[in-house]
Symmetry: C2
Subunit: 348 residues, 2 copies
C-alpha cells in the first residue's frame, strides 16, 4: 500500500540543508532521482503536477521558528496546490559556518600557521560583548573567528540563517551589509565567485567543502541544539478523500504519541470566540496540540488561517479520534483542511 | 494620571512607515522630540533605559503577518527589556511604490511625456501572468509599470515588503537580485545614490519624494487593503506591578470590545496538553482571542513562547475578568507576562 518512491523534488541547490534532509529520508534513491528546485513553491508545484512523487521542504527551525513561505503554501490561497499532504518529517542538525577566502595568513601572531582546515572554534568568548545597563546579559557567541574578518564587507545567506547566528554576527560583523539569497548553499556559491575576500557566507560545512571555501568560523549558530525540521510531501490519493487513510502502512494503529497530524482552518472573523471554539475540539478528544501558527488569510485584512499540529493520526475507515475531531471542527470552523498524518521523528 | 509624553523613539529612518505611525499617534509633538532608531531592538532599549518615554514599533502586517523581530523582543529571552508594555496601537495603510531613476523618457510611445509625477497606476493588468495547469489562478498584479524596467538589475527593500508585492515583482521583475535593507526608506536612500538607473527600491511615496526619486510604478502591493499595525510602547510604572493599571485614563471601563490585551506565556513542554489548558482559561472568562503566535523559547529546542491577544483590559484594583483570567493562567502556564492593555483602533 506504500506509495512507490520514484522521484523527489527538494529545495536546492545541492548541498543545501534540505538536500541533507532528502538524503536522510531517501537513502536508497539514486542521485538522478533527486531533483533540486529553486523555490519552496516549485517543490509544491512538482508534487502537485506529479512531476515528482515526493517533495522535501523546510518547515521550522528550533531557533528561528516557522518557515512562513511553507506555511503560506499550505494555506494555498491561490488554489495552486490543493492536493499536497505531509507524509513524513525529518530533523537535521544545523551547524552554520562563516565561509570565505583567506588569501593570506591572519595578521595576528600565531604559534602555527593558520589554515583553512583549522579545527573547531575556541571556547573562550569572554568579553566579546560588553554588558550595559540596558543589556546586562548580552547573548555570547559560541564561536570565535578563525581568521581576520576586517576585510569582510558583504555577507550572503538565507534570511533564516541571520536569526540563527545573531550573537556571532552582531559581535564580530556588526554593521556589515547582509544580502539575502535563496539558500545557504547558493550563498557559498556566490562567495566562491568573489576571490577578493570581501565576501563571506553563512552556510553549512558541506557547502563550504563543495565550493572550496575557507572556514572563517565554525559552529556560529546561537543554540547548540539548533535543528531544522523538514516535511516530506506527497500528492493526495483518491483514498485520502474518501476514508482518510494515511499513506505508508495502512494499519489501524492509533497510538497518538507516535503520530502527528497537521490541520489548517479558518474561523468566522465576525465571531471573535470562534478560535477558542475551534481549539476546544482538540481538547475534547484529548488530542495534544504540539504547535500552532497563524498566517494572514489573504482575503480580508486581519483575518487568519490557523495551523495546528496535534499528536494523533487520521485513520482509515473514519473512526479514530482524529477523524471524529475533524468532523467536529467542521462545525466549529468556517473551513478546514487535513494536511496529512505521519510518524513522529522527534526523539525527546 | 496619563503619562507625560516627552520623547518618542521609533524605528527610523525618517519617512519610514513607522515614522508615519509616530506622526499619526503624536501629532502635537515637535520633531526634535521624535528620535529615529536603527533597529526595533534599539526602540525597546530606549524605552527600557528611559532615554525615551515612548516607542513605536511595527507589529503586524495584514498581508505578510507578524513581525517576528518584535515578537522576539517581547519574548525577551535575554532579559534585556523586562519593563516594556504596549499602551496603544495605530494602523497605517501601506501603499508601496517601485521607485528609481528614469534618465530618459520610456521607449514605448506615449501621447504625453512621462514624468516622475505621473498619476496612479493603470488598472489593466490582464494577461500579466499566464495561467498554467499547476497555477490556474496566478495572483494578478494590481499595478503596471510606468516606465521601462529592463534596466533594473538590483532591488532594495525591507524583507517584509517582498512578501507584500509578490504579484508585481514576480510578474515584472522576476529573477532580479533582491537586497534586504533595514527599512523601505533606507532602500530609497540607497537607490538615490545610484544614478545609473540599475537600482530600484520598493518604498513609500513619501520616501520617494524625500529622496527625489521617480515612480516606476505605484500601488504595487498585492492587497488593496494592505495595512501595518504599530504598537506604542511605554515603560512599566510601579503601579503596573501592584494593581495592574493600564496607563492612559485610570477609569474602570471594562467594555471588552473597546480594549485589547497582549499576553505572553510558556507551558510545560513535558505536558503536551498544556497549551490547550492555557487557552481554555480565556474561553472560561469569555475573553475573545484575536490573535495567537508562537516563537521558539530559545531555551530548549521545540519549546515555544506563545503570544495571545485578547479583547479586554487588565483593570486597576485587580477585579476585572482579564485580571481573573491572568490569575488562572498562572496555574495553567509555566510562566506568563502581561504585556499591556490598550484601546483598540481597529474600526471593522
Amino acid at each position: 500500500m506504500a506509495d512507490k518512491i520514484e522521484t523527489v523534488a527538494f529545495l536546492g541547490p545541492k548541498a543545501s540543508y534540505t538536500h541533507q534532509a532528502t538524503l536522510t529520508s531517501f537513502p536508497a534513491l539514486p542521485p538522478s532521482h533527486l531533483h533540486p528546485q529553486t523555490t519552496i513553491a516549485d517543490v509544491f508545484t512538482a508534487v502537485q503536477s506529479r512531476t515528482a512523487t515526493h517533495g522535501v521542504v523546510p518547515f521550522e527551525n528550533s531557533t528561528n521558528g516557522s518557515v512562513v513561505f511553507t506555511l503560506d503554501l499550505f494555506a494555498d490561497l491561490q488554489h495552486q496546490h490543493p492536493d499536497i499532504l505531509v507524509c513524513g518529517e525529518v530533523y537535521v542538525p544545523v551547524r552554520h559556518c562563516l565561509v570565505g577566502h583567506i588569501p593570506t595568513p591572519p595578521r595576528t601572531a600565531s604559534t602555527s600557521t593558520s589554515t583553512s582546515t583549522s579545527t573547531a572554534s575556541q571556547g573562550d568568548d569572554s568579553g566579546a560583548q560588553t554588558p550595559t545597563r540596558s543589556a546586562p546579559n548580552p547573548l555570547k557567541p559560541r564561536a570565535t573567528p578563525l581568521a581576520d574578518l576586517s576585510r569582510v564587507q558583504k555577507l550572503y545567506s538565507h534570511p533564516q540563517a541571520w536569526g540563527q547566528c545573531n550573537a556571532f554576527l552582531s559581535t564580530y560583523l556588526k554593521g556589515v551589509e547582509r544580502l539575502d539569497v535563496s539558500s545557504t548553499s547558493r550563498a557559498a556559491e556566490l562567495v566562491a565567485a568573489d576571490a577578493s575576500g570581501a565576501s563571506a557566507a553563512v552556510s553549512s560545512e558541506i557547502a563550504a567543502q563543495i565550493h572550496g571555501l575557507d572556514y572563517l568560523a565554525r559552529g556560529i549558530q546561537d543554540a547548540e541544539d539548533n535543528e531544522t525540521r523538514f516535511f516530506i510531501l506527497r500528492r493526495a490519493a483518491e483514498r485520502d478523500g474518501a476514508d482518510g487513510a494515511q499513506g505508508g502502512d495502512g494499519g489501524g494503529d492509533e497510538e497518538t504519541e507516535k503520530w502527528k497530524t497537521l490541520i489548517a482552518f479558518t474561523v468566522d472573523h465576525e465571531d471573535p470566540g470562534a478560535l477558542a471554539k475551534a481549539l476546544e475540539v482538540f481538547k475534547t478528544y484529548g488530542l495534544n496540540l504540539t504547535s500552532i501558527n497563524a498566517r494572514p488569510s489573504g482575503i480580508v485584512a486581519w483575518n487568519y488561517v490557523f495551523f495546528v499540529e496535534i499528536k494523533g493520526r487520521r485513520l482509515e475507515g473514519g473512526e479514530g479520534v482524529v477523524n471524529r475531531a475533524l468532523r467536529d471542527l467542521g462545525r466549529a470552523a468556517r473551513g478546514w483542511r487535513w494536511l496529512g498524518s505521519w510518524e513522529s521523528k522527534l526523539e525527546r
